[in-house]
């Protein structure tokens, strides 16, 4: 159980920000599932971000803040 706010989620943020720059397809005008491929990619990134935050909340929650709350 973490005693301090963890820093490794910042690594997850960095990965998400790198994935955000999908420059290799910025000029592609393909439509996938009826949507521009860049839009679909960023929608997928929102889903990935949700999953990533679920993992962070589970694995790196700052429990010391909760404990102080219950004191």
């Amino acid at each position: 159980m973490p005693r301090q706010t963890q820093l490794w989620p910042l690594g997850v943020l960095l990965v998400l920000l790198i994935l955000f720059f999908n420059f290799w397809m910025w000029d592609r005008d393909a439509l996938v599932l009826g949507l521009p491929i860049n839009l679909l990619y960023h929608m997928g990134l929102c889903v990935v971000a949700t999953l990533a935050m679920a993992v962070i909340v589970r694995r790196a929650w700052p429990h010391h803040l909760d404990e102080e709350d219950s004191e």
């Binding site: 706010t5 989620p9 910042l10 943020l13 998400l16 920000l17 955000f20 720059f21 420059f23 910025w26 000029d27 592609r28 005008d29 439509l31 599932l33 009826g34 949507l35 521009p36 860049n38 839009l39 960023h42 929608m43 990134l45 929102c46 889903v47 971000a49 949700t50 935050m53 679920a54 962070i56 909340v57 929650w61 700052p62 010391h64 803040l65 909760d66 102080e68 709350d69 004191e71």
Partner: protein, 484 residues
Amino acid sequence: MIMVVVAIYLGLVLIVGAMGHRLFRATGEDYFVASRSIGPVVLLMTLLGTNLTAFTMLGASGEAYRQGVVVFGLMGASSAIVIPFLFYYLGTKSWWLGKRFSYLTQIQLIRDRYTSPALGTLLFVVVVLLMLPYILIGVKGGGDALVAITRGDWPSWAGSLLVCGVTFLYVTYGGMRSTAWANTFQTTVFILVGLVAYLVIMDHYGGIGKAMTTLRDAHPEFVVFGSDSYATLKMLSYQMLPMSVAAFPHIYGHWLSARTARSFQTPIVFYPICIAAVWVPSVTLGMVGRIDFTAPVNGPILIELILAHTGGVLAGCLAAGVFAAIMSSLDSQTLALGAMFTEDIVRFYGFDDQLSEKQQVLFGRVFVAAFLALAFVASLFTTRSIFELGTWSLTGFAGLVPVFVGALYWKRSTKQGAAAAILSVIGLWIFFFADSLTADGAYSVGGTGLIPAGVIVPVSALLLVLVSLATNPPRDTDRFFARR
């Protein structure tokens, strides 16, 4: 029919707001932060509703109409990635300190942490000045929307007055709890209205696939991001804008209203997917507006689409949705300003920290009423577009974020470092804003694509670090970092 739907909606908002008042305890803590009692689901919805403004519903679709799909990447996806981390790192810690030291505003945190009343007052002035244009986004958006939806049958001032009047009633009556409950209702309404508008209008074009194919054939530049250096710098620097959320006084107020630290878990996890649910309909509708409407259109493109392709009931629902988006931000903004003027000025300077609970509530209500009145009057004379106003306000707030990060996580940060960071934000903001007044079209630093926030935020952070290291370390900061 449109105004009937709007009237029914506004009545429902007032009922929900009045329900929040049933638990009202007539204390400053209850009026400004709901006695720190807000649970996870309401916290998610009220944070979402507070962050999403008239800009999201009308401005984003308008920008997508002008720029294409890249708007989702610039503002939607970047928010979905950055903001949950702000909740995780800054929200939970702010809540913990707020509960521990009974803070009701972010200025109290900064004054206490840096042991500098003057620094707190400097930040107060900057935050208030940045908030005013942000509040104007909502008030003016309400007026513009009503004019467009009723085709000029109702004047702009009537829309602004409706927005201000209804917000005034439930915020002054019930404070933060009524605000949070009304926000939850309003956020639900504008998400649903956005989705219904999306389905109805896309059906008119034969589905999203057909609409996008038609758009790509006519305007291929609208379905790509563009990959030149201008686009790259623009994408890079737009990452800075969502950071502004961490410096908003109204978001700080909602953070403090959480029941427990764990109440943040739901907003942290579900925020990205909620952002996509709101932004995708708004952006795609703006894009398909290009198929039928050649630039420039008279009103917001979303409203033009609704009026062109659907009946009066849906137009009324859209008006209700726009009002929902506006009021769910305006209420929190004016309440936060009321808290700041009451706690950070009247209580701190005028009453030597001795202000009764009833007096705090009274001052809070008076200030909320005064700001709404001021915003209404100012909206009558405002001409700049909603998007421009919003971006400049966000730029300033983003520049203040290093000050809060330092206060919460860097023991070595000093009041001199924080002051240098704030002063740099003031100087650079004024410089860039003045420079933008002579620019043609969308402004960027030196025409490179880099938005001003891409300069202001790094400079602010750098000065905080350098000046802090060059000055004496602060004393008595352990209580902000260590456990009891």
